[in-house]
Amino acid sequence: MARAVTNQRKAINTAAAWAVGLLIFFPILWTILTSFKTEAQAISDPPVLFAFDWTLQNYSDVLDRSNYGRFLMNSIIIAGGSTILGLIIAIPAAWSMAFVPSKKTKDILLWMLSTKMLPAVGVLYPIYLIFIKLGLLDSRTGLIIVLMLMNLPIIVWMLYTYFKEIPGEILEAGRMDGAGLKDKILFILTPMAIPGIASTMLLNFILAWNEAFWTLNLTAAKAAPLTAFIASYSSPEGLFYAKLSAASTMAIAPILILGWFSQKQLVSGLTFGAVK
């Protein structure tokens, strides 16, 4: 009897999880489907879900009109660059906060996180002016720096949580065993922290890839990543839904594939420290 109740509850939970999952996934599914429709079918009323003439015309049109490769390359360089630069700064920072904390460490961490609560548009104007002054407008370097700064608090927090989980006694055992700072980092800490660093890297890459506000406002043609590529297909008249969908699909495909293959790593990274 108890087992029947448990099974029933399980089935309900599974159904609910699927429903929520599908609800979240539906806009993406709809975008992908629309990308295979003609422009007329894309705006047909009532909308058609599957029963339409599948076409690759939008993809070929989009590839003809825009240099997808260049946008893709910019996205990879900007997201990758900001992630690597972020890690270079965040690893030592999180390191010292976790292993040699001061009285103000908690305050600094909270302050760093609080900067994420500021609406980005609030600092757009000064940053725009600084970018003009430094000649960083529409440059990949400029975007790498801005996106790195935007995500730095999250990277530091995630790494800090990971490093905190490494017991201090292990480092002391290392000291007793004759490991110097270099040996400790190389043989003990890095191998222990690799899963944490990897999932932080992954999450940051995804955040930087999807970032639209700064990439749209600080780039024009040269440094524009895939977010700008999508935006270039949205027109005020809204007549290019199919092409817009094709562009969107092409922009999200790489990150979707990356996310799919690394979902286990991502989930464990995001829930790290929550459950011991």
Partner: protein, 334 residues
């Protein structure tokens, strides 16, 4: 090799002075146990010897050499931690090899020492496993193996058995004692468990608030505790400390009598009381007795077959030759 001498060693954390000036000599080959309640500074003292904490003032000599400013790895000591502190990403073999690798020892010698340690500690079948795949007892053996291969002049153990269950603890206790007999290396062992201290030590150092209350062999401490604190701390069940008129009869502020030094009778005796709880252990019975002035409850250790129960009236007679007397300052009156 393995003599450790502490001269006027102090340790402060900020304004808090955890170890006031302290002198202690640990002789070569001795099994010394630091024992005391939580927060008494015993682990801090061990960490000062290990070099994991810097001393505030004083000097630590190891084998006659000033080691005060030497880094931990250069002191020739090996430490076994309470949490085992194994490297989780390395196999047992690599864990044990790590200190030798850091010392740049050649591979053949490393393998020889690993195999010898694994054999001595029953780890041969587990050398390629990771710590996560081992039981608590096995992990502790790996930690000991990692210490043994360094062939240190002294072993430091920081509450190494506290994470193990009771049965395993007794087994490991014996193994460590046997290891000491075999290796004859100096060992310093920190514990809050006075049973571990009594059973393992050649010499016990009883600490309270960073101060050494008494140093001596287990039986010295048992027979002649220097003060009330040591009297109450060493021995299980604890010594009964009786104050008031009963103590005054013996010209003392407090008298102490161990539970095993009280004779119980249901008919006659010096003190009369009522049985509260009788704990039957089979070999012994611990009887907690109420109604005796100056010490409530009073604990008696009687034979396993003693038939007393809650509410019974019993009479107790202390064995006078085992009576301890303490003055108002808590010190023993000889």
């Amino acid at each position: 090799m393995g003599q450790i001498q502490l001269n006027q060693v102090t340790k402060s954390f900020g304004d808090v002075n955890v170890i006031p000036p302290l002198d202690l000599t640990i002789h070569e080959g001795e099994f010394t146990v630091f024992v005391g309640p939580s927060g008494c500074g015993k682990s801090t003292l061990l960490r000062l010897i290990a070099g994991l904490e810097d001393i505030t003032s004083g000097q630590i000599d190891i084998d006659g050499q000033d080691a005060t400013n030497l880094p931990p790895a250069k002191r020739g000591l090996a430490m076994v931690f309470q949490s085992y502190a194994l490297y989780p990403h390395m196999s047992v073999r690599k864990n044990i090899a790590f200190p030798m690798k850091m010392a740049g020892m050649d591979e053949a010698e490393q393998t020889r020492r690993i195999d010898a340690a694994a054999k001595a500690l029953n780890l041969t079948d587990y050398l390629d496993r990771r710590p996560g795949q081992l039981s608590g007892g096995q992990r502790q053996r790996v930690a000991i193996g990692r210490a043994i291969v360094r062939e240190p002049s002294a072993f430091l153990f920081d509450e190494p058995l506290s994470n193990l269950d009771a049965a395993l603890r007794v087994g490991m206790r014996l193994e460590i004692s046997e290891m000491h007999k075999r290796l004859k290396t100096t060992m310093i062992y920190v514990t809050h468990d006075q049973v571990e201290a009594m059973t393992m030590a050649d010499k016990i150092v009883v600490l309270q608030a960073g101060v050494i209350e008494q140093v001596g062999s287990p039986l010295e401490l048992y027979r002649e505790p220097r003060n009330k604190f040591v009297a109450g701390f060493i021995g299980s069940p604890k010594m009964n400390l009786i104050e008031g008129s009963e103590a005054a009869k013996h010209n003392a502020h407090t008298i102490g009598i161990r539970p095993e030094h009280l004779d119980v009778s249901t008919t006659e005796g010096q003190w009369q009381g009522t049985v509260g709880v009788a704990e039957h252990l089979g070999s012994d019975t611990f009887i907690h007795i109420h109604g005796i002035e100056g010490c409530d409850p009073l604990t008696v250790r009687a034979g396993g077959e003693v038939a007393v129960k809650h509410g019974d009236t019993v009479y107790l007679t202390p064995q006078m030759q085992h009576l301890h007397k303490f003055g108002a300052d808590g010190l023993r009156i000889s």
